[in-house]
Structures are given as structure tokens and as C-alpha cells.
């Protein structure tokens, strides 16, 4: 009698260990397979010449290998770029902006420059 009583509560339900095994495997799977990148898109000009013709006024942003930036010939900084461009665009909304960069400029710098252009209201990245 005593033995029966002692063994009864021991065999209640399924053990937790298999459950934990499966949950750990699921957790590992989801940890390894999922990622948290939030993708953003920058539109790059597909024509290379800009949507406008040669007759419209254009501004040239030059990016040098050492990270310095010229705005139509005059040196400027990346922080001042968007205000200067916004001012130019306000006076002339048809202004086309082109980015010209040296060969060794890393992509991250180009994207940062384009972020400034985007802040000034330019929607298409015109690289040449």
C-alpha cells in the first residue's frame, strides 16, 4: 500500500525535459534564421544623365578620396551640404544635382552624402 501511494504522484503527466528540448531547438532555429535588418531603398538614376536634359542648370557635388566635399567647385562640409542645397533648390526648383566621386570613395560615404541630398529634397541619386 505504501509503495503504491509513493509511486502515484511521480507518474503524473509528461516530463518537462522533452518540452524544454524542443523549445530550445525552436529557439535556436529562430535565433539563427531570423534577422533584424530594416531595409531602406535609395533610388539610383537609371539613365546616368539625370531626368533633365543638358539645358537645365545643374549642381555638381564632388566627393574626394580623403572625404572632403566640393559643392560646385567650392569646398564644403557634409553638415552644411543639405542647407546649401536646399537654399539653391528653393531659388531654382528645376535644379539637377549630380554626385561625382573619386574612385576610392567607400559606399558608406556616398550614401551619407546622398542622405544630405535627400534631406534637401532630392529623390534620385545621380551618380557619375
Amino acid at each position: 500500500m505504501r509503495l503504491e501511494l509513493a509511486s502515484r504522484p511521480h507518474r503524473s503527466g509528461i516530463g518537462l525535459t522533452p518540452l524544454i528540448d524542443v523549445v530550445f531547438i525552436l529557439l535556436l532555429f529562430f535565433m539563427l534564421a531570423s534577422h533584424f535588418h530594416q531595409w531602406r531603398a535609395l533610388t539610383v538614376s537609371a539613365t546616368g544623365q539625370g531626368a533633365t536634359g543638358a539645358a537645365t542648370p545643374a549642381v555638381l557635388v564632388r566627393v574626394h578620396n580623403d572625404g572632403s566635399i566640393d559643392l560646385s567647385g567650392g569646398p564644403t562640409s557634409i553638415g552644411a551640404l543639405s542647407t546649401k542645397l536646399a537654399y539653391n533648390l528653393q531659388r531654382n526648383p528645376a535644379l539637377a544635382v549630380q554626385i561625382e566621386s573619386d574612385g576610392g570613395v567607400p559606399l558608406q560615404t556616398l550614401v551619407e552624402v546622398f542622405d544630405q541630398l535627400h534631406a534637401a529634397g532630392i529623390s534620385e541619386m545621380n551618380l557619375r
Partner: protein, 151 residues
């Protein structure tokens, strides 16, 4: 005397539950693991991994990408991956030509290729420029550069 009493009291409640303790102490662990599992299931997104690992540039652009027809992955060492293929940059032109002819024969009213570029932060401007020139020669209609959001 007093001390002995308190000792007895503190020991007593442990004695009967010793057998269940192994299972019961696991329950907080399972709770946490379940929480983490649910977090990863809901917050993470699953995508097929790219054939080349790239570290995309960070931008402040608010535009979310539209589902692209084709993704080209550019690595910093000049390799280009498209689908499952990995090629050197000089073979991009012929690959694009093949892709374009198969697309034109595939559907009559195609509106040109739309290509998304997933490039590494370390890709140099001249590498990007040569890829863009190839895409323009192949008269790709829309080119987007994929970046990640600034955290």
C-alpha cells in the same frame, strides 16, 4: 532552544518537496525561454541568406523597398552574386544580356528590369560605377540601392 526551533521550521518545508524540486525549478527557465522564443518569432524576419555575406550601408532614407524583381549582391572584393550564381564583375554584362533575353521571351508586355543592389559598405565608388554602367547599358528601368536604417 529558540535556535533549534527555527532550524527545524526552515528544514521542514523542503523535505517533502525534494522530489518535485527538479521539475519545479525548471519552470522559470521555461517561462523565459518561451518569452525569448516568442520574441524571435515575432520580431525577427526570415529571409533566404545571400550567397555572399555583405554589410549594407546605413542611411536615413525613409523609403521602404518595393519587392524587386532581381537583387544583385556586390561584395567589397568585386564579386557579384545574382540568385545562386557568383560571378566576377566582368561577366555581369553577359549575365544581364542573358537575363534580359529570357525575360523578353518570357512575357510580352514586360516593363523592363528592376534591379536592387545590395552592396557592401566597403564597395568603392569605381566598382559601383562600373556595375551601374553595365546596368545602364542593359537599359534597366529602375535601379535601387538597398541600405539599412540608422539605428
Amino acid at each position: 532552544m529558540k535556535l533549534q526551533r527555527t532550524e527545524r521550521r526552515s528544514i521542514k518545508p523542503f523535505a517533502p518537496s525534494r522530489r518535485d524540486r527538479s521539475d519545479e525549478s525548471l519552470i522559470p527557465l521555461i517561462n523565459i525561454v518561451f518569452l525569448i522564443l516568442i520574441f524571435f518569432m515575432i520580431a525577427g524576419r526570415m529571409e533566404a541568406p545571400d550567397p555572399i555575406l555583405v554589410d549594407p550601408p546605413v542611411s536615413t532614407s525613409p523609403t521602404r523597398p518595393s519587392p524587386p524583381q532581381l537583387i544583385l549582391v556586390l561584395a567589397a572584393d568585386g564579386r557579384i552574386a545574382a540568385g545562386d550564381e557568383i560571378m566576377e564583375s566582368q561577366h555581369l554584362d553577359e549575365w544581364l544580356a542573358r537575363k534580359l533575353t529570357s525575360q523578353v521571351s518570357g512575357d510580352a508586355n514586360h516593363q523592363g528590369l528592376q534591379i536592387s543592389l545590395k552592396a557592401d559598405t566597403g564597395v568603392r565608388a569605381d566598382q559601383l560605377q562600373s556595375v551601374l554602367n553595365s546596368l545602364r547599358r542593359a537599359s534597366v528601368q529602375k535601379i535601387t540601392l538597398l541600405t539599412t536604417r540608422r539605428p
